[in-house]
């Protein structure tokens, strides 16, 4: 099924592009007004009024991918469509993300919420929200992209 119309396929494709380090292609599946958001708690409803671990627009996402030197692997549990209306979907996906740097491998876990909408005839990511299970803890550096 085409990622241009199928929300589940797009969520898988997003992780594949990251793990393949195809960052330009990754950026291209986000809408022009997209947000990449890692909140500090699961109950957080506002990315600005409350502090976030990351909250980035396409310009900052570009800056991030410009300088990434290392490898990561996403393992997704089957994404679930939790809401849909005309041309819009929300999916939730449990994930493990393994980041490798030098001799060290770091494991992250959480749930990703994708807000997807049809933009110029194809599905695009409007917001990717990542809730880490340990978002409350003092965290070591997350080098790549959850």
């Amino acid at each position: 099924v085409s990622t241009a119309v199928d929300p589940i396929a797009l969520v898988y494709e997003e992780a594949r592009l990251l793990d393949a380090a195809r960052y330009r292609d990754w950026l291209a599946i986000f809408s022009h007004d997209a947000r990449y958001w890692v909140p500090m708690s699961r109950t957080q409803s506002d990315a600005i009024a409350e502090q976030s671990i990351a909250y980035e627009d396409p310009i900052l996402m570009r800056v991030r991918v410009e300088r990434i030197p290392i490898a990561g692997q996403h393992v997704l549990q089957a994404p679930r469509i939790v809401a849909s209306e005309a041309q819009r979907y929300r999916t939730e996906t449990a994930f493990l993300y393994i980041e490798s740097r030098g001799e060290t491998q770091t494991l992250w876990a959480g749930t990703t919420t994708h807000d997807l909408r049809v933009d110029q005839g194809r599905l695009a990511i409007q917001q990717k929200r990542i809730d880490l299970v340990n978002a409350h803890a003092a965290l070591p550096t997350i080098y790549l992209i959850l």
Partner: protein, 438 residues
């Protein structure tokens, strides 16, 4: 191994006038001595009064490995208590914040304490009649830790004796004024929870870097380079986003850094950027400038807003940035592990846009996902690892180390002078060679 505990000469020999021995960053024994002799007898940041506005409000944290509670009293004062039940030593609360009402109650056996720390009630009270429980430490309740505060910033000294709050900080307290005066009402408020980072390096490597102006445009070349490249691609006429405005100055050249000026203060405190800093050129927020002028008059408002050092360090626990209105708190956990918190302040009476700028700065620069912090953390890790090499046991702090610096007074220096780091080590060696704490 007890190389240093009973040998002050060996500790003194670690710090020369212009270089430091690697053991300062590697020795677990020295880390334990730092906890006892430096941190326990210094005034360490605990929290801010705005976090506990009402009687019974509390926040918890660890200082120098000791769990403590900052709690608001019925008479509106604040106290710092040991978070340790007088009975068996369980922590009275594991919550990061809350309101305890009139009393704390231990989750283990229900011993309860008034908010001033005194023992309120014990279960099976008759079991203690005729015992010595009330006459010893147990009967005194939760330990009350010496605390002092300035402009809402609350500090504590774990050791029962040591320098007074005022003597320890002296003129360095003006750096807290510089933060609070940026509020048209003269008051700050903590915004939410701090971002918390686990840094795999000795706390001094992190703290020295706070005073290291030279590294910025070298270590952060890739992140500022990426920001420059992306910014250059934007169509002409695009308004400069605040994030780009905050990232690009990290590329400021060595000449700029040399001119920004530094100041060493007694007891390891310092200011980097007395003349200017990479935060000096943030665009004005007209509504804020107006509120400041109304509150302070034009001249004073200009003076307050014109003072924007790179970092003011209240040794050994905090570093403040007045212009983006943020603070880092260092909470050393082990010789090679440090928790670094990034706090945001709302200047009361200032527009929301100013707070958003502060929060943005912390996300961009002091978050576990910060691309700027990535650069630093990578270097810190390599230092911690490579210092193990026998090839050269010394760290160089020679830059502009000419002449005698042994006087402990205030002194203005150039922006690239490593004097600020040498000053920290003078305070460090003085603390570690004092008699063991009581």
């Amino acid at each position: 191994v007890r190389t240093y505990r009973d040998n002050t000469a060996a500790i003194t020999a670690l710090v020369e006038s212009d270089r430091v021995h690697r053991d300062a960053y590697l020795s677990a024994e020295l880390f334990a001595l730092e906890q006892e002799r430096l941190f326990a007898r210094s005034w360490l940041f605990v929290g801010h009064a705005s976090q506990v506005p009402n009687a019974g409000d509390f926040v918890t944290t660890d200082i120098a490995g000791v769990p403590v509670i900052l709690v608001r009293q019925a008479d509106a004062s604040v106290r710092v208590l040991a978070n340790r039940c007088a009975h068996k030593g369980a922590m009275i609360t594991s919550d990061r914040r809350g309101n305890t009402g009139r009393a704390f109650r231990c989750p283990y056996h229900s011993w309860s304490y008034r908010t001033d720390g005194s023992l309120l009630a014990v279960p099976v009270a008759e079991g203690y009649t005729g015992t010595a429980m009330r006459e010893c430490e147990t009967g005194r309740g939760l330990g009350v830790i010496a605390s002092g505060s300035h402009r809402g910033f609350v500090f504590a000294r774990l050791a029962p004796s040591g320098p007074s709050f005022e003597d320890y900080f002296g003129a360095a307290l003006a750096n807290l004024d510089a933060m609070a005066d940026r509020s048209p009402e003269g008051e700050l408020e903590v915004v939410g929870e701090p971002l918390r980072n686990l840094v795999p390096a000795n706390w001094k490597i992190y703290l020295e870097n706070i005073n290291d102006s030279l590294h910025a445009n070298i270590t952060h070349e890739s992140s500022t380079g990426a920001a420059e490249a992306v910014w250059a691609e934007q169509p002409t006429g695009t308004a400069k986003p605040p994030a780009i405005e905050q990232l690009l100055p990290f590329g400021s050249g060595t000449e700029f850094m040399a001119k920004m000026g530094g100041r060493v203060l007694p007891n390891g405190h310092s200011i980097l950027g007395t003349a200017a800093s990479i935060h000096s050129a943030y665009s004005a927020i007209p509504e804020y400038a107006e509120a400041m002028t109304q509150a302070y008059g034009e001249a004073r408002a200009k003076e307050i807003l014109g003072w924007s050092p790179q970092n003011a360090v209240l040794y050994p626990s905090i570093a403040l940035k007045a212009a983006p209105q943020v603070m880092r708190v260092l909470r050393p956990g082990a010789v090679d592990r440090t928790i670094v918190e990034a706090w945001t302040f709302l200047p009361r009476g200032a527009p929301r846009a100013l707070v958003q700028r502060s929060m943005l700065y912390n996300r961009l620069v002091f978050s576990p996902m910060s691309i700027v912090a990535h650069d630093d953390t990578h270097v810190f890790e390599t230092i911690q690892r490579a210092l193990a090499s026998n090839a050269n046991p010394w760290i160089s702090l020679h830059r502009e180390a000419r002449g005698d610096e042994s006087s402990t007074g205030t002194r203005d220096v150039g922006g690239l002078d490593e004097a600020l780091m040498r000053n920290q080590f003078r305070a460090w060696v003085a603390a570690l060679t004092r008699e063991a704490a009581p």
